[in-house]
Symmetry: C2
Subunit: 341 residues, 2 copies
């Protein structure tokens, strides 16, 4: 079985944008209106998008979360963020209901700059226990590029970590769009978030306080595998946990798109901590003229690495994903049963 | 000849810190006092530091600039930054006077958040024409982690680019320390700066407006070689210049510290755009227990790559450095003559 752990609903029907436009037009008096998207529209959006590509590319299941760049935690306030988050998570739930054998939910959190992550606990619990989601995306910079919130190592974040541990669900470190002209959302902001997030945790005692906390680094770990020696040296100089050991506290996804990068990622991170991800449809939705394939059609990069054993592939494509998301196995079973029924 | 293009005076004698402490203690009435550092102190600081390591490691010459993390453009105001910059550049000049066959100057700029880069033109000109320096370090985020200044693609920066082109000197994109708790200076802030700087230029028309502008990317290009496909895809999607071509507008230094990273860097960037750098003594001044060598003793990583020809090595260690810094050849000749005399 091939599970892609990193997909966003970037193809959601226009009704979601209509909702958002009205929500923001009447931001001074937030009210909860119904979103107008039919099941047919959802079906079509996926049959022409992620589902079609799943079939073409031979992947079986996708962990599916709301469009990351549209989470927009920096827009409006805590109430706006909460309503918008609920609407998006509910939409993901409908996707999983329509294609239960193809998509499993991962939730957005109602973060807001300067607001305690405590405010995310209720929505996380709803998504996991009521909607059968298996994880969440966590944005270390809800300000969208101004970096005004405490680092991930601060106790500020502990109420959320406590709930994650209690529910046994991982968070993928994932930014949203930026409102700071210094950055480009997918080109620099996302990379900076990966990089900054892991450094914030490296400097902290989070894994001492939460030894079973599960964190997933997207985009092949951003800069980490390439700059590994810098982090190893820093850890020695600062008497932190050796970086090789620290790195094993995370899972890294495989959302990189060149053969050299894929090879480096596997060599540095190791098969045991890697989980397959294409992040489709995401930041690289175009054809690579060098290969004639879509950039985010990256399973062939793994297929072409001859020194990976069948056992290695089984880990990356399925076993590690189930280990990173402990609720995935049972939820998948339940959804598969629903699909057959 | 082996030229290391990226060294900072991190071992400067205590007198420099005394100066800074007094400067900041009387920040309300900035005055220019004399710095108390003897030639002997300078000599000792280098004979026990960078010069000793140059000899041990078999490098001949170093492009030498003030300690990057102490540039502190975010501290005080424009006057504080200017005085501090002049003092540091003058100190580098003294180093080059004492060891003219070993060090060539690269200057710090008197940047200050919210202040036009026009204010850097005079000091750049002084360093190049009076002090015989060959380049400058340019900080895209003088706020030190709050990212409040316009991106490098903005005309805000054009007066500085004009002067760089006129003087035919390159800038290395290089941050200073951060005052934002979200970041770690060498672990995330520097990496983010590399990444963000190149994206800012990619989105801009800077190289159309200044076709002969020379920019050097430190730290092996930050995240670029590893995430190359992301940037190639973004360039196609946005109809920007193909990233392979855009990349050739830069020189990349070799300040990476693992064999896998060095190999990836050479493969992706290509021998023609690479210039040797160890960044010693910098962010990774400790021994790698895997090799028994200092992390920043990275020349062996190049020596060990068997598929590099002698011609390739000649380019990386000398020819490309001279091409990236057009004033280097003549200044070196002049300083060598002084050394012999």
């Amino acid at each position: 079985m091939i599970i892609d752990c990193h997909g966003h609903y970037t193809t959601a029907p226009p009704g979601i944008h209509v909702y958002r436009a009205f929500q923001l037009a009447f931001m001074n008096k937030p009210n909860r209106t119904q979103i107008k998207i039919s099941d047919d529209e959802i079906q079509t959006s996926l049959e022409n998008g992620q589902l079609k590509l799943q079939m073409e590319r031979g992947t079986d299941m996708m962990l599916f979360s709301p469009r990351a760049s549209h989470m927009g935690h920096h827009v409006g306030d805590e109430v706006i963020s909460r309503q918008w988050t609920e609407v998006n998570n509910d939409l993901i739930k409908r996707v999983c209901g329509i294609f239960p054998d193809r998509f499993i939910g991962v939730c957005q959190l109602p973060q807001s700059p300067g607001v305690s992550p405590k405010n995310c606990v209720e929505e996380l619990e709803r998504c996991i226990t009521e909607l059968d989601f298996v994880g969440c995306n966590l944005n270390p910079d809800p300000s969208g590029g101004w970096w005004t919130d405490p680092p991930l190592g601060d106790e500020w974040w502990y109420p959320l970590y406590e709930k994650m541990v209690e529910l046994d669900v991982p968070a993928m470190i994932h930014g949203s769009s930026t409102c700071n002209p210094a950055f480009h959302t997918t080109g620099s902001h996302y990379m900076n978030i990966d990089n900054t997030g892991i450094m914030q945790l490296l400097e902290s005692r989070v894994f001492q306080d939460f030894p079973t906390l599960r964190i997933i680094m997207p985009h092949g770990g951003g800069v980490i595998p390439y700059q590994i020696a810098r982090y190893r040296a820093l850890s020695i100089m600062n008497k932190w946990e050796p970086f090789e050991e620290f790195m094993r506290r995370f899972y890294f996804d495989t959302a990189v798109y060149s053969p050299e990068a894929m090879e480096l990622l596997i060599k540095i991170v190791g098969v045991d901590r890697l989980i397959f991800a294409s992040e489709m449809l995401g930041g690289v939705t175009t054809i690579d003229p060098n290969t004639g394939r879509w950039f985010d059609d990256n399973k062939p990069l793994l297929d072409e690495i001859t020194w990976l054993s069948e056992e290695d592939r089984q880990k990356i494509f399925e076993d590690n994903v189930k280990a990173a998301y402990p609720r995935l196995g049972p939820v998948m079973e339940k959804q598969m049963k629903a699909a057959k029924g």
